[in-house]
Subunit: 434 residues, 4 copies
């Protein structure tokens, strides 16, 4: 047990006018929207790393947080950390959590020690999950923090490190499987390059492709039937990461025959760093059939790095959930808060309040998106804009050849007049659901 | 005939110490490098649009250039423009040029008029090309300037506009074919969206895919055996363009079965706007087997739009040509200057001098790249870094399964020590060839 | 008279549930907030240029809008344009408008002709302003579109162009004065450089300083007692503009003794291009005592150019008005929509609806900001954070010297413990007023 | 003594064709350029922090470097670190170094301990400086890494932290003075804000102004006659830093009466993050009379954070030194390498080679700049462009009033014709000196 959050009661829904930092104003887990309770739409998960493993450092300063589980090099303190984590999950009422191996266990002196530490914590998690009902949305391996990964994991110039990555992912996937994880995520933070001058990009890409195939095969072998997810990010920590964005990952999956086997976990912050809106990445993944899960946060548009802030802009979040709802909502996926406190937010209550604000923002966004979808006016406008393509002639043209399509124009009389795209009216329409 | 460039003699190679604005200091077309004359390595092309159709406007100001062929709505003046263009090609000694239909002919009141204007100019080009020996690197259709294209061409919500695009591309491809063009380029400047709210991205993507298939089939039908090229760009004019970057185009080509049929024309400025270095895009295209041709320019890294400046940084250009040489150099492709004068550079001599500087920058870069490749130290360092993968065990591991790769680590004894990536030493090495 | 907006009735406040594109849901001009009607808080102005002079072009395409007043080179059509403009002002119920000389009159063949055209239009505006009650928020001179300004106006290398700028501003200021304008704005779109290589930055800065002094003196001389405003922008059209941002303008004003004479007109889009949030620029100007007026729009954070979109994000706008309210609100300033339709929004109703959405967004934002200010919790938290500085000792320390401040620490016992910055809790608090 | 760099001989100038990683090809310290040896132009300094205190961490990974002086919490190891540092200075032949207190001494449990540690190291440095002839370019206080500074130093909401900053700067300035430092630098890495919501910007700005006044007064009091320098940076670690860029610092200095007392230390990377070219910041500082010293590095234009890479692009560096030479060169300032190895560059030789490459890049750049200045063609072109302003009439107009300037135009006959800015020709000209 831990008294880290002593005095903080479980957060309850209190309605829009509820007072205080620690009440939900929009998130009523049982509220039914589009035929489903909010909790089943949103499928919130808390991320172990930002809230419990990160110590508040940034490139210009070290630790700001002082936690009872610091320093994080001891199994006993790892359990205190786990106690605090599950206490937070309980207070927030989140149905899921997510973790990397390195978040939850001390690094060992050898691979075997690290793995044994991991499984000891897995065993420690079991009863806690049972007791609280909190489930594992996904597990993942941290293949980027230790210095051995500095030049990549699967894409490393050293085959021994590829092997080490294989062993690590194998262990993490087994841990995930044991804990009933619904997905397994791969984020290739160091699968990229710092300079092309020392990089064999073709070779590294093939290594990455083979690795992913091996991971998928292994999942099948052990009977893990959760979803395998890749999390795209364009850069940071490296100058260029191979899983740049959804479109890039799609081409990669196609190349290795995995486009129906692997899906994407899309992070708002990573979308922005890649020059896309979050809703763009979501819509594209949906259209390509690879939308899996999301990492919810916000990124400062004016900071060129991954700020991983808690979301607080309802209009922005609304557009994201709208694309998710259009995809039919989450199946194994969910809304994982890949978000961290600002390093000046030192207090335990900051950690709770930040999640409360984020959950409320998401709930308000999803409800607005649902209203918009139910109302149907936006979709009607979209359909109307493309209505010309529903004619038999238009369909035939699309199935025909260039000369056929050209013929009508060449015959004269087709001098098409453009029609208004009505963007501002549609933007105004969206605002009416907020 | 035109006296637009009166008094400007053909530009000659004068050696590094040559004086004046109008001599090549690095570009000796006949200089043999890696067994081939420079002119056959670089395959320079001048772009009709920037030098002859653009009037100097920007979003905050109108025309600054006063040219004898303005206003550009008359066939007689289009011929004066052609005279000046070929005069510039002759002065520069560029072996190629490139054009859009809209650059060379006045827009007609109808499709038929526009097309007839185009072919009239094609007929006017013929003897000029014969006489000067200047060839067509590629032709293309301008599917973005006229208001009919404002919501896209192939991806337009209106099937009539798709048809109009088909007729236009058919005409331009025929013009290109007639003039012996070595490639045909598609740049989808309006194939994208301004807002997701009014966009059916999946549908538009399918329209684009079908259109490209139809274009390729038509090329086969008419016996055009040049290369079909897509030119990626992430955004501008639209908020998002479907041909975002090389990786995105690759996924798209795979989806429509065109990855061995279509290649890419990579522009430095577009690479930068997509968050990539030029050499990244070139290397990636090479590894994916879709490297076709380049649009050479430079982009101001600190301006968030397409500045299309003439290249002037030799170290930067060197890295680009290094990747091209590693790919075996150009076949049908070449170095097209998709570069324009700053709008304050009013004089005819500015136009010549700008190209001279750009050509010299490219020649200096290519020669440095060739020295680097011939010397072999950079490639030796790269190979050495990955040498571990050449062992039979490593190859077997890559062909094996995850459990096999993991087994060695699980058995203990593999605790890999990272090795220096030596980036700064390699950067210094590159500087030694400049 | 014009029937351009035929069938569009004046827009009325219909309450949050009002239906249709053309009703205010948040902007009730007479609603009293913080003791003042909304209309007097917001002081909306429509911008002549975007709505009536811009033809829909962008760097890759020409005119998309077809208006009865095109082409804009004729005085008769300039009056039709004015009719339409005032019709829009009437429909929207905006109390103000803003214009550049070049927006409202055809360019003449000579300065005298251009000036006479301007005053003819000024005379045409007079009765319209009388009749509609619409007032002039500010006038300004377009010193950037015509080719003569390509290398700057006041900062031009050619003194004749400086003189031309002087004559132009003199005429525009007189026009503004005659129409009872409440401010006069200078935006130095070409007062900057494209390359340092041809630029004498010190000299140009002095020219700009003298010009501004001359403008201020002239205002005094003619009895214009409106506010003189500089509108900062970092770049675009030029590579670098001298009026980069609020802090830069402040240093410039200090240098020329104008920091109490001249204020700033801050545009959201320009703030963003300079790497700042809008609220940053507003707060800084307030603290420096130079906050004058605002150009309201939004900028796409992911497009590196000035997108001048209508605002639609209420949380964002709330933070802006909060800083304005903290400054005591506008005096001569107001909320000018420096926003334009997307070029695909072709219809007259798009123009009205876009403004309606923008006005509603601003009204909702201002009302939320007012609630936040009235409630006082945010200000209380801010005051509490700095409370330590209210002690006599702290104040004395600030008035003392370094050794004195150091002495307490050197004496031992001062090992300060940081306190939480509570950012997330404050962000959540803000969301409660929305 | 240390054998960290065992086997690495002092680096010598070997001429352009010298072989190996460890020879200067461009930097001959004694080569006379514009009447002064290169070493006196460039005044190279090595930065203690990046090379000896930074352990290779980034936001996603920890230490990669393994150094004999790790962990850095022990005075004995701090001396081993100092031994290695001076060994590197000797090998490189740099005449200067720079340091923060936190680089060179272990943090103590109290202020007194930290200070005493500092002075113990100062005493350890003394004989080393004597022996090697290496001098101190500047000292500075690290007011950003320890958690006490998380909300700022001089601008902290807690006056005790202001006091702690005062004591710290007092100690660092005394250390700098004792070691004969030629400048004292203040970089306000945490003097800014993470969110406006909890920030009193006006108050913090006044605190910063008073602090700087106190620092200057204290320098006078102790007889430190080196230059006081502010190092601007726009953001990172904070969302916004008050010393944003040169123009911002200038306005701040004016406000507190320090514009003739304090100068700026301009870093290439910070210039770029602020949206400026390095040469812009240098030229502006020169024109404002506040150019002091430089932090030389390069920043990846495509990474939105401070990459602090060693410079390697000669054309870029040339433009920077050109502005410095135009300012008359350095007086107390110099070229400090605020540059760090990539974290994969693990070996001691990487550290030496990186500096060698950087020094050679600077030397090549400075020599090209000197040739360009001596040749005079660029300056002649600049002067010619503004020649019109040298006439008596033009000067009188600038001293006159708006009506006077306007009168000539109003009288008719002044319809100025723009002249070419010749940008490309000037860019080509620059390339001729490289
Ligand atoms: Co994530
Ligand atoms: Co992130
Ligand atoms: Co191009
Ligand atoms: Co371009
Ligand atoms: Co504006
Ligand atoms: Co704007
Ligand atoms: Co620095
Ligand atoms: Co830096």
């Amino acid at each position: 047990m831990t008294d880290f959050f002593a005095g903080i009661d479980p957060v309850r829904y209190g309605g829009p006018e509820a007072d205080g930092d620690l009440a939900f104003r929009h998130y009523d887990p049982e509220e039914v929207v589009l035929g489903k309770p909010l909790k089943d739409h949103l499928r919130f998960a808390a991320a172990y790393w930002h809230s419990f493993a990160w110590e508040g450092g940034d490139p210009f300063g070290g630790q700001t947080f002082l936690r009872p589980w610091h320093p994080q090099d001891d199994m006993g303190r790892a359990k205190i950390k786990a106690d605090a984590a599950f206490e937070m999950f309980r207070i927030l009422g989140v149905p899921f959590f997510c973790f990397h191996d390195a978040d939850v266990r001390p690094e060992g002196a050898t691979f075997a020690e690290s793995r044994d530490n991991l499984f000891e914590i897995v065993d420690y998690f079991g009863p806690k999950m049972e007791e609280t009902g909190v489930k594992l949305l996904w597990g993942t391996a941290n293949l980027f923090s230790h210095r051995r990964w500095m030049s990549g994991a699967a894409t490393n110039p050293d085959p021994d490190i590829f092997a080490y990555a294989a062993a690590t992912v194998k262990a993490c996937m087994e841990a995930t499987h044991r804990l009933g994880g619904q997905n397994y995520v791969l984020w290739g933070g160091r699968e990229g390059y710092e300079t092309l001058l020392n990089t064999d990009m073709g070779r590294e890409r093939r290594q990455a492709g083979r690795f992913l195939q091996m991971v998928c095969d292994h999942a099948d072998r052990i009977g893990f039937d959760g979803t395998i997810l890749i999390e795209p990010k364009p850069q940071e920590p490296t100058k260029h990461q191979y899983d740049y964005d959804v479109a890039t990952v799609y081409g990669f999956l196609k190349d290795f025959g995995l486009e129906t086997r692997v899906k994407v976990n899309i992070e708002q912050g990573h979308a922005i760093l890649a020059g896309h809106s979050f809703e763009h990445e979501l819509a594209l993944a949906r259209e390509l059939g690879i939308l899996g899960s999301i990492d919810m946060n916000r990124n400062d548009y004016q900071s060129g790095w991954d700020t991983d802030q808690f979301p607080n802009n309802v209009p922005e979040v609304t557009l994201a959930y709208y694309e998710i709802l259009r995809a039919g909502g989450f199946t194994t996926g969910g809304t994982n808060f890949d978000a961290k406190l600002r390093r000046q937010s030192l207090d335990p209550v900051d950690l709770i309040a930040a999640h409360v604000g984020g959950m409320d923002t998401c709930a308000a966004g999803l409800k607005a998106a649902a209203r918009m979808l139910e109302d149907g006016r936006l979709e009607a406008a979209r359909a109307e804009r493309y209505a010309g393509w529903e004619s038999a002639e238009a369909k035939a043209m699309l199935d025909g050849d260039l000369a056929g399509a050209a013929a009508r124009v060449e015959a004269g009389g087709v001098e098409p007049e453009p029609r208004s795209g009505r963007q501002e009216r549609l933007e105004n329409l969206v605002n009416r659901y907020l």
